[in-house]
Symmetry: D2
Subunit: 244 residues, 4 copies
Amino acid sequence: MRITIWNENIHEVENEKVRAIYPSGIHSVIANFVREGVAGAEVRTATLDQPENGLTDAVLENTDVMTWWGHVGHHLVDEDVVEKVEQRVLAGMGLIVLHSAHLSRIFQRLMGTSCNLRWREGEDRETVWTVNPTHPITQGVPHPIVIPNQEMYGEFFDIPTPDELVFISSYTGGEAFRSGCCFSRGKGRIFYFSPGHESYPVYYQPEIQRVLLNAIEWAYQPQISAIDTSASFESKPGWFQSSD
Amino acid sequence: MRITIWNENIHEVENEKVRAIYPSGIHSVIANFVREGVAGAEVRTATLDQPENGLTDAVLENTDVMTWWGHVGHHLVDEDVVEKVEQRVLAGMGLIVLHSAHLSRIFQRLMGTSCNLRWREGEDRETVWTVNPTHPITQGVPHPIVIPNQEMYGEFFDIPTPDELVFISSYTGGEAFRSGCCFSRGKGRIFYFSPGHESYPVYYQPEIQRVLLNAIEWAYQPQISAIDTSASFESKPGWFQSSD
Amino acid sequence: MRITIWNENIHEVENEKVRAIYPSGIHSVIANFVREGVAGAEVRTATLDQPENGLTDAVLENTDVMTWWGHVGHHLVDEDVVEKVEQRVLAGMGLIVLHSAHLSRIFQRLMGTSCNLRWREGEDRETVWTVNPTHPITQGVPHPIVIPNQEMYGEFFDIPTPDELVFISSYTGGEAFRSGCCFSRGKGRIFYFSPGHESYPVYYQPEIQRVLLNAIEWAYQPQISAIDTSASFESKPGWFQSSD
Amino acid sequence: MRITIWNENIHEVENEKVRAIYPSGIHSVIANFVREGVAGAEVRTATLDQPENGLTDAVLENTDVMTWWGHVGHHLVDEDVVEKVEQRVLAGMGLIVLHSAHLSRIFQRLMGTSCNLRWREGEDRETVWTVNPTHPITQGVPHPIVIPNQEMYGEFFDIPTPDELVFISSYTGGEAFRSGCCFSRGKGRIFYFSPGHESYPVYYQPEIQRVLLNAIEWAYQPQISAIDTSASFESKPGWFQSSD
């Protein structure tokens, strides 16, 4: 499995407090536990400041699952890159959308909605509850996950109804949120997971790592569907018999 | 629209504290606001202590939507009555399942699961959040609804994935819950709504009443489907052409 | 209810055979049965050749539900108009997407997928089967609807999994298709319905008209949700209490 | 993975024509390709005529995934056995429900509906179309699968809306059907697949075998959720913190 960990990597460079938590960037921390946790995985990282935002055609064509973290730099991602990532997802690449990437253009385009929500940086504890215990993403995940400090993300979250709702969260302030959501678009699988604010060491929590490892495994398809979705094909009577 | 408000009516008779809140029973309070809120509705009540638990064939045949409140008397409901109510739902009657009726046999049979959950009688405030703002049950409902005191009902709630998830709730203690859930079974519509503990005056809150009025309107079908689901019919070639 | 019937109106002008069926355009036929079938409706039509494609701000702001028929002119619709229609849907306007409008840019943007499918103009009979008999769009609709001649639209249809699947179709040639699909996006409801090829008098069939009238009623929301999805709002602790 | 292939095994014993196709019973054919196709699987068969219908406590406790074929003997299955299988599914066992087992009591109980449909033994060809190409059950499955002769099963199929709809079928006679449906109930996964009539050699088709092998892999959970659904537990404030 070939995995690309994408990160805008702005807070970690510009903000001392964030750098103290993620000195080599959020992407490094994620890449490390993915390397350890996914057997046989080939893991690379890519960041906004690289040529083509680190997502050249060669990188994209050799990525089975991509994780995406972004926050203040959504508008800095090249429009062509967004378009190419979208096409890769529709062609079967898995995409794990992390925390504030709810407002990334790649997520908005795949959803077709604003993806707005309510938020608060404060003292909230978040508890993450499994609502779908047969889902592979929940395997081995404690119920609930407790995150001592996390940015509040609250409803209404303006996304399409998820194909599968996996987690819902509650916050000290009283808000609730659909925090783990699965979607299929074209031939690709997408998972949105809200825990992961840059000011807290959320990605060091083993339970959070377990969710993300499960999500990467779930989003990976060893054999992408052979169905051709690249055009609306005229199909003569009996077209499907010829291949019998 | 012909509406039957069913209640086991045990707490109100046996428990002074509950009687102080609902002196004529929870069913009376619900019946009153339904009479006022649903134009042209014919509203009756039925209780466990009546012959056939108040749900004779005549009552069932003349009910378009039923609301069901039960808690400590689930096992006292006649098995035949449960069977008949189930058949009525499958034939198109709407059913609104209230609070602790999550463990009623009628709900368990229609769901096919245990319907277990976590609970706590305590000091929790519940906030109820809309996650589906296009749903008719949310129309005119504030976001969130705040219930100053309510029994905590928490995940995991062992129900099938709802066809439509309308509300999720958060509690002071940190739990979260899928508190407003729509299902279809056969030709009938079912709505489960968790707020409504007997020890708190929840059914007097106008927002809660609004949800229930919306739910009754949603569960009502002026014209039940003509599809016959009473057997698996042998269907000769061209059977559907004969009626052209 | 204010309804706008949009049509690209190209085949009817350029193709004699189509004009013989729809001499005043598909939009006129639809507008006529909607005027008769929706009590108190204010119905207007709009076409591609009009200024701003007939969809000025004034028209959009005064439309509760829009139906959209397009085929060969998708690329001729002004990009600004597409953007405005999208925003109106997200703000609560209902949208009924008809037949070959599966490839309209408005539908593709709201779906986030290619919306490709398989097709064949030929001798197929289509049968349309209800798979969700509690859904308001099926009310009074025969099971199945038989369309003597209709263009074949077959799977795989590259759309997100519908929130509610209402109809599936079968064709003489052996293909199957999800022909009636409901989606919510933002605060708006969307229904895609595939029957309606320009070369056949499909929109004159009373059963098809019944589906579309039901769909318009379903997509209409008398009271749009008050939830503000226009931005991601910072929400101080207790923000939702202040309005109590 | 421990797999039990259950079969009522009546037609194969009593009907010469069926015996000619499945001389050792449908269960033997299924067991054979499962043994070959699932690496490391421990496969056993069980039939109606055995003590406790072949499903003793020891067998049930040592089964991770069960396939179920039944037709004329649904009422002959011991009620206790049905109850135990249901409890095993709710506790995490996978269940693959085959063809005419749509009317088995185990399936009806888990669904909560009649599970009726339309049917015809005749000359129909069935074509099976993928509508969810990201689903693991579709991996490597041709689109469509063509079954030269198969009993027609047509809508309306009286089941709850599937959690995931994977396949829809079309028949020569014009009917359509939701032929591949996923459900979760409790902690278990269920897949219903309609192809597989006893009078045709459907289970010898490699594409059908591929679907069933995929389904068994999908229904298998290496690690069942640790969430306890056996009761509604009272949960004191902070109960979930103690395990931190």
